[in-house]
């Protein structure tokens, strides 16, 4: 792997615990800063799959680049490589063996980045910006699934310039998640479609949205047998829905909860509601993390229906989050999410990616010990 260019100039020693010296609110949780963060808002984060030794973090940004860092066991981060698109990068994902990274961009293309050779090749083309990309590994096929604002969902085998399948959606794709054999796509106008991926991708069911406001993020969760069983859907107005695909008792099992709001107990002032920007499930405990426009992250136990933790408020929204495959690192990105339009955008403001130890805080609380 090639290093970042030398002009980025930073030593390995600049990372580490900052201690209590920092007084501003860019890192109130005193978490580990990732070195050499992107120059513009961070749109997506992804940790390497379990097949890889060590932890590698990929982050895409509105500065058109995708960066790769190695996260060492002591918490130090080492920038490893980067690739460019000709438009902002909206989503990234890993291949199963960790040798490749797939990136989706506003330039209407998706690329496959081979980390061994540091070569990027275009694998997909849409009529509109590509919002989501996911790698699917089925027993009989493997492909990249791209969801775009051109209202199509396409599947690419990475060798052919034509998609192996293209599915029309009722609206623009806003967010998606894949856990074989299930895929969920949430679209504009509160559309929600579940796809099954066995044999070949096909639409499984359209679901009436459990939420009243625009869909913003979705994440699939698994049952005890490690099979996908439902999803968590976050909306633009501080609410997350937990939805099972086929629950024994839909009225009881499915529910929604409020999050990312200012304290509503004080009746004198109205409650401020913020967008839920991303949801991520802990790979071991099955608990989840949400991050919001309010600049906070929260940990939740959906089975006990309790909040495990809420962070202090950062001085910027949190735009993306993810766990590594063993579930001991929680990464979150602090940058502007455009939630207040361009007037509030400050290009001079620095963007950060933080790493937090997630082993203890995400344990379900009501376990007997």
């Amino acid at each position: 792997m090639s290093l970042f260019g030398t002009n980025t100039g930073f030593g390995a020693g600049t990372t580490g615990v900052f201690g209590s010296a920092t007084t501003d609110s860019h890192n109130p949780m005193k978490d580990v800063e990732v070195t050499s963060p992107p120059d513009d808002s961070i749109s997506c984060l992804a940790f390497s799959p379990p097949t890889m030794n060590g932890n590698f973090l990929i982050g895409g940004s509105w500065a058109n680049d995708v960066r790769c860092w190695e996260v060492q066991d002591n918490g130090q981060t080492v920038p490893k490589a980067q690739q460019m698109h000709t438009g902002p990068v909206l989503d990234v994902c890993w291949s199963d063996d960790g040798s490749k990274v797939y990136t989706a961009s506003c330039d209407k293309t998706a690329k496959m980045w081979d980390l061994n050779t540091n070569q990027a090749t275009q694998i997909a083309q849409h009529d509109g910006p590509i919002r989501t990309i996911h790698w699917i590994t089925a027993p009989n096929y493997s492909c990249a699934m791209t969801g775009s604002w051109d209202k199509t969902l396409k599947f690419w085998d990475t060798r052919s310039p034509n998609p192996m399948m293209s599915l029309q959606m009722p609206e623009r794709c806003y967010c998606a998640d894949v856990v074989y054999p299930m895929a969920v796509v949430a679209t504009a106008e509160r559309g929600l479609i579940v796809y099954q991926l066995e044999n070949q991708p096909s639409e499984f069911r359209r679901i009436d949205s459990p939420l009243k406001h625009q869909h913003r993020c979705v994440a699939i969760f698994k049952d005890k047998q490690n099979k996908p069983t439902g999803f968590a859907l976050g909306s633009i107005e501080g609410r997350v829905a937990i939805h099972y695909i086929s629950p024994p008792n839909p009225a009881k099992d499915n529910f929604t909860f409020k999050c990312h709001r200012s304290n509503g107990t004080n009746t004198a002032t109205p409650q401020d509601i913020y967008a839920v920007n991303a949801i991520s499930f802990h790979p071991v405990h099955g608990t989840l993390a949400t991050v919001g426009s309010d600049g906070r992250f929260s940990f939740w136990d959906k089975d006990a229906r309790t909040k495990l933790k809420t962070s202090e408020q950062l001085d910027q929204p949190i735009t993306a989050c993810c766990f590594n495959n063993t579930g001991n690192i929680f990464a979150y990105a602090s940058s502007y999410d455009w939630s207040k339009g361009h007037e509030y955008y400050n290009p001079q403001k620095k963007n950060y990616i933080f790493l937090r130890n997630a082993t203890e805080e995400l344990k379900p609380r009501n376990k007997k010990w």
């Binding site: 106008e189 996908p228 401020d272």
Partner: protein
């Protein structure tokens, strides 16, 4: 293209007339797109208008709306739900309600009138416009308002609205006067004809029978069928819908032409609406309610099914099983089913019907609005640029807004290079 030329001939009845006509090229194009099922170009154009609405920074934001609405009307000749025109109009008029700059802008007033014509009760809208001072200096408002009154047979009101317009000094005054004179001419003609009609009716009455029912002007007379002797009435549309101007003008709400004494009927609509348009305090414009294919729920029937079982439990008796085996062809195979492995058992084909939303009437909206005002502050507030996301007809997400701005910047950068 050659086959498309003939296209509009085939779809004539699906093309809604526009007041200022259609450009034939736009019509061709629209029909071609529909014929080929090619929506990408349309979607892109729509998207570009939508983003222009959000990114516009000049001093005439109404212009974008006007162009967008004009384009929509030209592109969707059938109108209907797909065009989303009613929503578009509603958003457009609401957006500039408080903007003093546009109050007497003819483009804005025309949008209001068009919006009103799509509503179930345009009168509410016109009154609201007057109360807000929108278009009070424009002749177009008074003309549309008066026509609406005329449609309902409220001729006095129609006349007084014109007088009102003249008093306010609405422009262009010649146009207003011309329409006023035309109305007066129609009223005169109608009175003349109704007088002669009455005379004729009177003569018919003395002849004995048959004059109470209006006669069908075309086709044969309606006949009773079967044992029942009831004949369907000829005029089955409600009075307010049927509307003809000119010689056949009928006084829809007037007393029956052959009855000499008018009997008050409280179930009837009052003949005259308030003489002077009342100046009410309208805080919010009424909603457009004329949605297509929306039926109001009604009680279907009063009949109750009696419970048959003696025990009081109403158990549906299953139909008896057939005593024979249905024949199955030997080479019969069950139809192939798309594989669905997640859980085929719970694939409910029919989902439960959602409870109907309570219909929002203008009045209700008003009362809600005032309630909010009384309560003071709302209990919740969204901390994002909601007005930007929901500016046009379709919603945007943050990333789309940002991407549009990015694209715009890229374009200007390229141009300056």
């Amino acid at each position: 293209m050659a086959e498309c030329d003939a296209e509009w001939e085939l779809c004539k009845e699906n093309i809604q007339p526009l007041r200022h006509g259609r450009t034939i090229s736009a019509l061709h194009q629209a029909l071609c797109h529909q014929h080929e099922g090619n929506n990408t170009a349309l979607n892109q154009k729509k998207q570009s208008y939508e983003s222009e609405l959000r990114l516009y920074e000049g001093d005439d934001p109404l212009d974008v709306w006007v162009r967008y609405i004009k384009w929509t009307k030209q592109t969707y000749p059938q109108g209907g739900k797909e065009s989303n025109l009613s929503v578009l109009l509603q958003r457009a008029v609401r957006r500039f309600t408080d903007d003093k700059k546009y109050q007497d802008d003819i483009r804005y007033v025309e949008l209001w009138i068009e919006f009103a014509e799509g509503c179930s009760d345009p009168m509410d809208i016109y009154r609201f416009m007057q109360a807000q001072g929108i278009g009070t200096m424009q002749a177009a408002l008074y003309i549309a308002w008066s026509e609406e009154n005329e449609k309902r047979g409220n001729l006095k009101m129609a006349d007084s609205i014109f007088q009102n317009g003249v008093k306010c000094g609405a422009q262009p005054s010649e146009k207003l006067h011309a329409f006023h004179r035309a109305l007066q001419a129609r009223v005169c003609r109608q009175m003349m004809s109704s007088m002669t009609d009455q005379k004729k009716d009177h003569d018919d009455d003395e002849d004995g029978e048959g004059s109470e029912e209006p006669q069908r002007s075309s086709l044969v007379e309606l006949k009773a069928k079967g044992k029942k002797k009831a004949v369907v009435p000829i005029n089955r549309a409600s009075a307010s819908v049927g509307y003809a101007r000119g010689l056949h003008f009928k006084q829809p709400l007037g007393p029956k032409q052959n009855s000499r004494l008018e009997i008050f009927d409280e179930n009837k609509n009052p003949e005259t609406e308030p003489q002077e348009p009342r100046l009410e305090i309208w805080t919010a414009p009424p909603t457009a309610r004329a949605k297509e294919n929306e039926q109001k729920p009604e009680k279907w029937t009063n009949v109750k099914l009696p419970l048959k079982s003696r025990s009081g439990l109403s158990v549906a008796v299953p139909p008896p099983l057939p005593t024979f085996q249905p024949f199955v062809e030997e080479d019969h195979q069950p139809p192939a089913v798309t594989p669905c492995k997640i859980n085929p058992a719970v694939n409910s084909v029919l989902s439960a019907r959602k409870p109907c939303r309570v219909q929002e009437t203008p009045l209700k909206m008003l009362s809600q609005h005032t309630q909010h005002a009384a309560e003071g502050k709302p209990r919740e507030q969204s901390m994002y640029c909601k007005e930007l996301l929901y500016c046009g007809v379709i919603e945007f997400c943050f990333e789309e807004l940002r991407a549009e701005r990015y694209r715009q910047k890229l374009q200007t950068d390229r141009q300056t290079d």
